[in-house]
């Protein structure tokens, strides 16, 4: 009765074990070289507080552009993954649909690319 759940439990145990192991082992074997960035939240990015005084508390707009582009590619993957799993059963209709999806997405990519959206500095 509970057979189908055993792999799930194993998976959960494995994930928990890996997390505990990583957190526990890091202070023991990791090198200790401190610099300023080490004390930031997530060790990177902008500090949410206190607000940057330059420009009246404004953030560079490039962060939002990067975040938006990341979300777009991420969501593309979200749709492509289930398609890949059931590509066989969807047949040619599925291929046509997914090609159309990628093409539509590609139009937006081309726009961002040609208008300089990918030029980070």
């Amino acid at each position: 009765m509970l057979d189908p759940y055993i792999p799930l439990v194993l998976m959960f145990a494995l994930a928990l074990g890996f997390a505990v192991f990583s957190v526990a082992i890091a202070p023991l074997v990791g090198p200790r070289r401190y610099n300023k960035a080490k004390f930031d939240a997530y060790e990177c990015g902008i500090e949410p507080s206190p607000q940057p005084t330059v420009g009246g508390g404004r953030m560079p707009v490039a962060y939002y552009l990067t975040a938006m582009l990341f979300i777009l590619f991420d969501i593309e993957m979200v749709f492509l993954y289930p398609y890949a799993v059931s590509a066989d059963s969807l047949g040619m209709f599925g291929v046509a649909a997914v090609v159309l999806f990628i093409a539509t997405f590609g139009f937006a990519d081309l726009y961002v690319w040609y208008r300089g959206g990918f030029e980070w500095n």
């Binding site: 057979d3 009246g56 066989d88 059963s89 969807l90 047949g91 139009f107 081309l110 726009y111 690319w113």
Partner: protein, 548 residues
């Protein structure tokens, strides 16, 4: 047990899933509009800057004409009404009528948006947007001056002003408008709530951006965009929560399945009415029906006037198309329980629109409150839930939309050196300076007030008579009083234009270019035709009801 589920899964994976049948000829108008929107994005990427405006305008106009032509050919074949794409879209008479309305209004809006004669270079953000706008705030060296990027080393105000006056407008507004229009077309054809929600987002997100694209008074325009976005996101959340509760009630998001579920009595009414309430709040927000109208005056005021016209006309058509479909298809059986709520909402909307409209001193805000009052009238038509009320509301939507776009077209013409003169005092004595524009505007305001021989009168007449037949006499009496109050503020503008002396430093009236002239002419002609010869359009609107 485990073995059987595994083989079952294997069999399931090998079965080919049959794709849903798609009636391409029925949904072709939507495909044309959305396909052209994708193409317009590519135009933005690849066409050189100096050609972009012409290519975008040509593409948008051809698209709308092509989609409209296809729609006419399809509707002439007298289709019976069908659902397609696995029952997510219903292509029936109301859908076809609303699509036709949206395409006509979209055409007029694109004409207004494309105009470059009234405001040199176009009314939208210029290509060199890194330079500060020629507004007094930026010139005075306030914090807005900090918007200049580090690439341009502190441009002085004088050259920026010189380049801004000739710089071409950014043309992203055309693909945004097409995407929004495509979303609206799906919105009023959506036969299940999830499709409706996706379409709601597809129509809203481009609109938020379009609101913030004004070349002049950029802070006001951006404030409008942010306000609309925040409140719109809030309303979308209401819609989505209502959808979730209704799914809990009916076990399906399809409108017909919800209708079936309301016929039985073994389910929780709490889920049904909480879900309906939240869903309707989301829809009423988009239709700017009071008391969910708070965003309307600010956004109508701040957005570029052409976009305000697009928003006022097309969004209202799409929102009321969806309200009609949801109420008629899914909630007709339970209407006895909820109709008092929407009676109240209609009364509140009419009263807010008519009374607060009286106190406005800005013409765009006045038209915004007028649109709230009109939303109340439209809601009366929508909650009759009869075929007569349905065709009357469809007719009213077309009549109101066309008149409103022409009104905003005229508003964009009256200007001072600092942009549009929207304060009412600037309109005083306009008839002495440019009688033609004043008379056109008078005619359009009379149509909004509902004076005979205009489409506004016919629209109100058919809606109110349908409401009387449906036994809503008290509501009709309140509506008539509200119309009378609202007529006062239209007449005040007319008196101001014709009987007051012009101010010495008053605005000039720009000579409209071909595009704005075409849009205003279209609006005036349709307003007159629908007022004199409404029968063909009313007949078309009453060919058939909703299919689900």
């Amino acid at each position: 047990m485990g073995v059987t589920t595994q083989t079952g899964a294997v069999i399931l994976a090998q079965q080919s899933i049959a794709p849903p049948p798609i009636h391409y000829s029925a949904i072709a108008p939507v495909l044309i509009v959305l396909g052209a929107a994708c193409l317009a994005v590519l135009v933005e990427a690849f066409v050189p800057r100096r050609l972009r405006w012409s290519v975008q305008v040509g593409l948008s106009l051809c698209t709308l004409v092509a989609a409209g032509a296809w729609l006419v050919v399809y509707a002439r074949g007298e289709p019976m009404g069908l659902t397609t794409l696995a029952d997510t879209l219903a292509i029936d008479t109301p859908t076809l009528f609303l699509w036709g309305t949206l395409l006509v209004l979209g055409l007029a809006s694109i004409l207004l948006i494309a105009d470059r004669s009234v405001e040199p270079g176009g009314a939208f953000v210029a290509e060199s947007s890194a330079a500060p706008s020629p507004s007094p705030r930026a010139a005075s060296g306030g914090s807005t001056g900090g918007t200049a990027t580090s690439i341009a080393p502190a441009p002085t105000p004088a050259p920026a002003r010189a380049t801004a006056s000739v710089a071409e407008m950014r043309t992203e507004v055309f693909p945004l408008g097409l995407f929004s229009l495509g979303g609206m077309m799906v919105f009023c054809a959506a036969n299940d709530l999830l499709t409706m929600f996706i379409a709601l987002e597809a129509l809203s997100l481009p609109l938020y951006v379009m609101c913030g694209l004004a070349r002049r008074r950029r802070l006001l325009s951006q404030e409008a965009a942010v306000k609309y976005f925040l409140l719109g996101a809030f309303a979308s959340a209401f819609f989505l929560y209502g959808l979730a509760l209704l799914y809990g009630y009916a076990g399906s998001v399809e409108l017909s399945a919800i209708a079936d579920a309301t016929a039985g009595s073994l389910r929780s009414d709490t889920l049904l009415f909480a879900g309906l309430g939240l869903l309707v709040v989301g829809l009423l927000f988009k239709g700017s029906v009071g008391p969910f109208h708070m965003w309307t005056p600010d956004v109508y005021h701040g957005a570029p006037t052409a976009v305000t016209g697009f928003m006022a006309a097309c969004t209202k058509v799409a929102a009321f198309g969806a309200i009609l479909r949801v109420l008629h298809v899914a909630f007709e059986a339970s209407s006895w329980e909820w109709h008092w709520v929407l009676w109240t909402v209609a009364v509140v909307s009419m009263v807010i629109g008519a009374v607060l409209g009286l106190t406005q001193s800005d013409i765009k805000r006045m038209v915004a409150y007028s649109s709230i009052a009109h939303a109340g009238f439209l809601l009366i038509g929508a909650i009759t839930l009869t075929d007569e009320g349905l065709s009357a509301t469809l007719f009213y939507l077309l009549a109101y939309g066309v008149t409103t776009i022409a009104v905003f077209g005229v508003i964009s013409l009256v200007r001072t050196s600092e942009g549009e003169a929207t304060h009412l005092s600037a309109w005083s004595g306009l008839a002495k300076r440019s009688p033609l524009i004043a008379w056109v505007f008078t005619f359009l305001l009379l149509a909004l007030a509902g004076i005979p021989l205009t489409s506004g009168f016919m629209g109100k007449f058919v809606v109110f008579s349908a409401a009387l037949t449906a036994g809503m006499a008290p509501l009709v009496v309140i509506a008539l009083v509200a119309s009378a109050v609202a007529a006062f503020f239209y007449l005040r503008v007319i008196v101001l234009m014709h009987f007051n002396e012009p101010a010495p430093d008053g605005p000039t009236v720009s000579v409209p270019g071909a595009f704005t002239t075409a849009a205003i002419t279209l609006g005036v002609v349709v307003t007159l035709l629908l007022g004199v010869l409404p029968t063909p359009v009313l007949d078309w609107a009453s060919v058939g009801g909703f299919v689900s």
